[in-house]
Amino acid sequence: MSKKVALLILSALLVILSVSGCSQGQNKGASGDVVKVGWIGSLTGDQAVWGQSELNTLKMLAEELNNSGGLLGKKIEIVGYDTRGDATEAVNAVKRLISQDKVIAIIGPNTSSSAMAISGILEEMKVPDIATVATNPKVTVLDGKVKPFNFRVCFIDPYQGAVAAGYAYDVLGFKKAAVLYDVTDEYSQGLAEFFIKTFEEKGGKIVAKEAFKSGDTDFRPQLSKIKAANPDVIFMPYFFKEVALSAKQARDLGIKSVLMGGDGWPSDTLLEMAADAVEGSYFVNHLDFDDPAVQEFKQKYNAKYGKMPELNGYLAHDAFFVLVDAIKRANSFDPVAIRDALETVDIQGITGRIRISKETHNPEGKEAAIIKIEGGKYKFQQKYAVTE
């Protein structure tokens, strides 16, 4: 008898416990003191260095914001998921962030292919995304129509390729250019295409256009062909691992041409790996690491994590403040209201003035920084915008 009573009490207790547990959980998700902001990007693979830098930046900024009273009376929590640089993984991560974690907005990813893949699900679930370094035009505009929930804080590929071509022709005075690009990568193709377009429009000549496939480690066949065409400059619009390998192999083949690239270059690993091979090269970047405007963030990051932020960290920084600005002006955590406010953002970020255009969802009129590798260091040359 007493056994039965004890069991009854026990089960009743269990039921109460589980019910109260449930209601507590719901409260937290819907109207607690914490608001979640999602992040997606690569934490494994070639681009892990960059993804990690973005996530570190966001966590640091959220912590700072929370310590100084939070946002609209709430604390911000960053929830980050690894996409492994894969578009399918990115879509899954977004689904998980929105349906499980109930985030109000998403920052990232850093690759264009992932950023393009997630626009369908963003529109379906009505949550805005701010891409960091996804520079392909199609991230925000497809077939002339702006994607309602995709935004970004970086300039776009055509602009980067055009800036490199303009600088090579107008400032450096090069007349013959060769292009080596990754045929399987949209980023690389985009940059190559617009470099060629601008360079030819200005009156320059493209003497060789060669391709490789991502995963390749040997570029000597293509480089030997480029060498025979004898260009003044070789444009290499791809990521630092391939840049290091191809630059080394180019020098091994006795190629003396100046090398140029885009924002896939900057990384401490490049200097470590390629050393002398990239000496005297130029690349287009989103910002200058020595710009006074970025020093404060750089030092704070270094103090917290014991290393310097990668380029992605700086753009994640601006993406965060673009989002904060939009939330403040929307005066709400409703994702759609935030989206509407994002369309009229105009703030001074550390990577430049960010004025989002309603038509393109891009920061219009952002100047690019031209950087030269000199004495094993990145040396800022000038801010440069290509004129039509």
Binding site: A48, A211, K213, T217, D218, P221, S224, K225, A228
Partner: protein, 292 residues
């Protein structure tokens, strides 16, 4: 003229990378009759062994080189004991060996990602980076080392298989494992020797690959090309594997150098398929009775 010679040198050097990897593949295939996809994983581990021996333990290069070979040898034998022996004991169909091999390969890749990390690393400079300049044709020192090592390991391997008692046992086992066992050959031990040899070759291939390019967990995927080269040369034939590798390397180079580099893989692999249509056993492939 200079350009075509340079391109041939480029092709030979790419080919010797494939060859080093393909020989190990072919060797295991000739005994076990299945494609050991775990070979790529062992190559990758070899690259890491060599890297840590050189950087962390500051070993002289040749010590690290053979050390990495021996460590990879142990790994390959371990893979055989864990992933293949239980299957062999139960006479599992060969498809299961292949699946098990893929599993082992993925395990190794993810093991490295989880423990060492996904970022890539570079070997310190061992050979002087300046290439030899022969009247405008540039030949890298490391390329020459790799070419010589590919040739030496092939010759040593052929000698071992053709002229030693152990080699005869390997041939007999490849010919008919059951009959060999009845004749008093310890076929289990023969299998271990074969995997040990394959593993050693994988290890030194990994070190050379890592030095030439870079070290990262996905190195194993490069072996898909050397596998194709081995099939093309005639799976199971060691000279075939080497010749197939050089042909693939040169073919790729010529296609990207003289046709369109955008279509390199498309054109070179169409050619390979075409050749296989006419020579289904590969260039030097023999019927299964004669292999090894």
């Amino acid at each position: 003229m200079i350009q075509i010679l340079q391109q041939l040198i480029n092709g030979l050097s790419i080919g010797s990378v494939y060859a080093l990897m393909a020989v190990g593949y072919s060797l295991v295939y000739s005994i076990m009759n299945f494609s050991n996809f775990a070979h790529g994983g062992v190559i990758m581990l070899g690259a890491y062994f060599g890297f840590f021996f050189v950087t962390l333990y500051k070993m002289p290069f040749w010590v690290a080189f053979f050390g990495a070979g021996i460590c990879s040898m142990l790994v390959a034998v371990l893979v055989e004991r864990v992933a293949y022996k239980p299957l062999r004991a139960r006479n599992a169909p060969f498809l299961y060996f292949m699946i098990s091999a893929m599993g082992a390969s993925m395990f190794m890749e993810n093991f490295v990602i989880a423990t060492i990390g996904p970022t890539f690393r570079t070997y310190p400079q061992v050979f002087p980076p300046q290439p030899f300049n022969l009247r405008g044709i540039y030949v890298g020192r490391l390329d020459m080392v790799m070419f010589v090592i590919s040739c030496i390991s092939l010759v040593a391997l052929v000698y071992f298989i053709e002229f030693t008692k152990m080699g005869k046992a390997i041939q007999a086992t490849a010919f008919n494992p059951k009959a060999s066992a009845l004749m008093g050959i310890n076929t289990d031990f023969v299998t271990i020797v074969v995997f040990a040899l394959g593993g050693f070759l994988a290890g030194i291939a990994g070190v050379l690959f890592g030095m030439k390019y870079t070290v990262y967990p996905q190195i194993g995927s490069i072996t898909i090309k050397s596998f194709i080269a081995a099939v093309f040369g005639g799976l199971g034939s060691l000279p075939g594997a080497v010749i197939g590798s050089f042909i693939l390397g040169i073919l790729e180079t010529l296609v990207s150098g003289y046709m369109m580099s955008q279509y390199r893989d498309l054109i070179s692999f169409s050619l390979l398929i075409l050749i296989l249509v006419f020579k289904p056993m590969g260039l030097m492939g023999k019927s299964s009775e004669e292999k090894a």
